[in-house]
């Protein structure tokens, strides 16, 4: 993706802190900095992959971008309009253009609603279609996602995980959105079913001109589907670049360790691979380390890393990184 493409979503220094309450009167005792100063752009019709480990804030970024969480600080510009500046009605109106696909297809579909009413719910909220047009649209949507349109009167429990995820996708597409946040849409599915859903998402993107933010922890799947990739660690984006650039020439030590930790389904390559094994665990986000977030596990940390936070900057063209010593590691 080049810089001449139109920017659809801009995220500027986004922060989201969650209060931790405690004590007798549930006073706010401290904050968890789930997202702590994240900035990036998403170009029209691209897929931006967002990867990171548990608790790094990737889901919070996705949700805050849709204003499902009120951001603590920072701006989100959707098609040039600052979402913070919108009133409730206008925000709801804008929300038609951005939708979300959730991780857990078991928890995100109401078990008491039929497939027809689940997929049709966004139409009820945002449009004044009569029953007949609505029914026709729902059946069309089911057809688009590869489900039998006659299933409208069935309930979610009658479907498998992969099929439920298709229902979730149909619901997200109901209002012809431009931007879809896919929050780990495949991580609860079996391998052979994952490929079905990913292929569907790619096909829909081509057909409907969608822009995706694809959140996942499975690096090989994100590499498969993304045009550009952002890597998060402890509430911050540590590196962002084109997909191939980040895989071949990543500069942040965390990104490199993360990639080298991905198991390869090929015994020959697995043997040859240089592995960087990090020590220790991810620090507690309510008490992040001083200086660079990653200094507790970084194999190349020097003095400055324990005092100064590295700046997130464009090290090479279109390749952003937050590290004092961006380099290729020797393992």
């Amino acid at each position: 993706m080049s810089k001449d493409n139109k920017i659809l979503v801009e995220v500027r220094n986004l922060k989201k802190y969650f209060p931790v309450t405690g004590g007798l009167f549930f006073n706010k005792t401290k904050e968890v900095k789930a997202v702590d100063g994240v900035s990036f752009d998403i170009y029209q019709k691209e897929t931006l992959g967002l990867v990171g480990e548990t608790g790094c804030g990737k889901t919070t970024v996705g949700r805050t971008m849709l204003h499902l969480y009120e951001p603590t600080a920072g701006d989100i510009l959707f098609d040039g309009v600052d979402l913070n500046s919108l009133g409730e009605r206008e925000l709801r109106h804008t929300r038609r253009r951005m939708q979300m696909i959730f991780q857990d297809p078991y928890a995100s579909l109401n078990p008491r609603m039929t497939v027809g009413s689940i997929v049709g719910a966004p139409l009820d909220v945002h449009t004044k279609q009569n029953r007949k047009t609505k029914q026709a649209r729902v059946q069309e949507l089911l057809d688009i996602v590869g489900l039998n349109p006659d299933f409208v009167n069935r309930y979610p429990h009658e479907f498998s995980g992969g099929q439920r995820q298709r229902i979730g996708i149909a619901r997200a597409l109901a209002l012809n959105p431009e931007f879809v946040v896919c929050d780990e849409p495949i991580s609860s599915l079996d391998v052979s079913i994952q490929a079905q859903v990913v292929n569907l998402l790619e096909e829909l993107q081509k057909r409907l001109g969608l822009t995706y933010l694809f959140i996942a922890h499975d690096l090989s799947m994100v590499r498969h589907i993304s045009d550009r990739m952002a890597v998060m660690y402890l509430g911050k984006v540590v590196e962002l670049a084109d997909r191939d650039e980040i895989f071949l020439n990543s500069l942040h030590p965390y990104t490199q360790a993360l990639m080298s930790a991905v198991p390869v389904p090929d015994p020959d390559l697995a043997e040859k691979k240089d592995r960087i094994i990090l020590d220790g665990d991810i620090p507690n986000p309510s008490n992040p380390p001083v200086g660079c977030n990653f200094n507790t596990r970084c194999p190349v940390a020097k003095e400055i890393c324990f005092t100064d936070e590295p700046e997130y900057r464009e090290e090479k063209e279109n390749h952003w990184v937050a590290c004092h010593f961006p380099q290729k590691l020797q393992s």
Binding site: V191, A195, L278
Partner: protein, 331 residues
């Protein structure tokens, strides 16, 4: 190498309201001492149930082992009574489970739980057991082992809990360690640590390991041999290189094709396996994979293919058309 475990015609059934679930269907194989065996398959393929059957941990009712022999150390485990089996579990065969949070008791310290296992199976004093427990935590790479013995499970991170589980599994120096999806709940960088640890421990202690997983990447890094399971049967088994490089069963081919690889060229479409695994209550008469298989012929629908050895190197496949598939030059 001498066999440590020989399973013959194991069948496990669950008698439920909806009918008889045929969870394990005629599984037979042998494991040598010091071997790392990967058991791979999707949810519901019987990989965990077959291991639980070995340990006789199947809840009865509704479960029942209806047929088979499990030879371990010159004895058929299925003929042992509960007391005798109790002595095998933990001492000769140990098991690590997927979720380290639910398999550790939250109200006892980690040290207490390891010491408990040691005292149960060995003739030692409490002091000796404590000493040994701290050695074990040291062995699995938990810093400050002696102090950490007094910690409760919630004070450990996910990776450390899994290390503690491994320490507990190793406490009585079992000859066979069954690990049921031990890294599935962990992040990739932590998973890499655990895989590295298990490899090292296997080198030092020389026990056989059965590693049950759905992740074909993890076993490629670890296992010597692989059993691929589908709908309760082994459909392909062999040395790791044969499975990945001379794949013969259409299901294994599909499973490998549905994984994106880090060295794929951009734009490669994933090969997905159409459809869903069969209902174990109503298994088809012929090959269980027939309904989803692109190589299906009439014979597949009526006769179940037996697992036959194809190359004199213990590479066996249950498919009527493996020879033609080999001829087609699929990798």
């Amino acid at each position: 190498m001498n066999p440590i475990l020989e399973i013959k015609n194991l069948k496990t059934r669950f008698y439920t309201q909806d009918g008889v679930v045929k969870a394990v269907n005629d599984v037979s194989y042998t494991m040598s001492s010091g071997e790392i065996l990967g058991v791979v398959g999707e949810s519901g393929c019987g990989k965990s149930v077959h291991a639980l059957s070995m340990m006789q941990l199947i809840p009865d009712p509704p479960g029942k082992i209806t047929n088979g022999e499990i030879w371990f150390d010159g004895r058929d485990l299925l003929t042992l009574n509960e007391d005798q089996m109790q002595k095998v579990r933990g001492r000769d065969i140990a098991m690590i489970f997927q979720d380290p949070m639910t398999s550790l008791n939250p109200v006892f310290t980690v040290g207490f739980q390891i010491v408990e296992a040691l005292l149960l199976h060995n003739d030692m004093t409490k002091e000796e057991a404590k000493e040994r427990a701290s050695d074990l935590l040291n062995l699995v790479g938990i810093p400050g082992a002696k102090q950490r013995l007094n910690d409760y499970p919630h004070q450990f991170s996910g990776g450390m809990r899994q290390r503690a589980m491994i320490a507990m599994g190793l406490s009585c120096e079992p000859r066979l360690l069954i690990a049921d999806e031990p890294t599935t709940a962990l992040d990739v960088t932590i998973q890499a640590q655990i895989i590295d640890l298990v490899k090292k421990l296997q080198d030092e202690l020389g026990m056989a390991i059965m590693w049950i997983t759905h992740d074909l990447g993890v076993v490629a890094e670890l296992a010597h041999t692989i059993n691929v399971m589908y709908a309760g049967s082994i459909i392909e088994t062999g040395k790791i290189r044969n499975i990945y490089k001379q794949t013969r069963h259409p299901y294994t081919i599909g499973l490998l094709g549905s994984l994106p690889r880090l060295d794929d060229s951009p734009g490669t479409e994933l090969v997905s396996i159409p459809g869903l695994p069969p209902d174990l209550v109503a298994l088809p008469e012929g090959c269980p994979f027939a309904a989803r298989c692109g190589y299906r012929i009439d014979q597949c629908l009526t006769e179940k293919p037996p697992l036959v050895e194809i190359d004199g190197e213990n590479h066996s496949v249950a498919c009527w058309r493996w020879e033609e598939i080999a001829g087609m030059g699929t990798k």
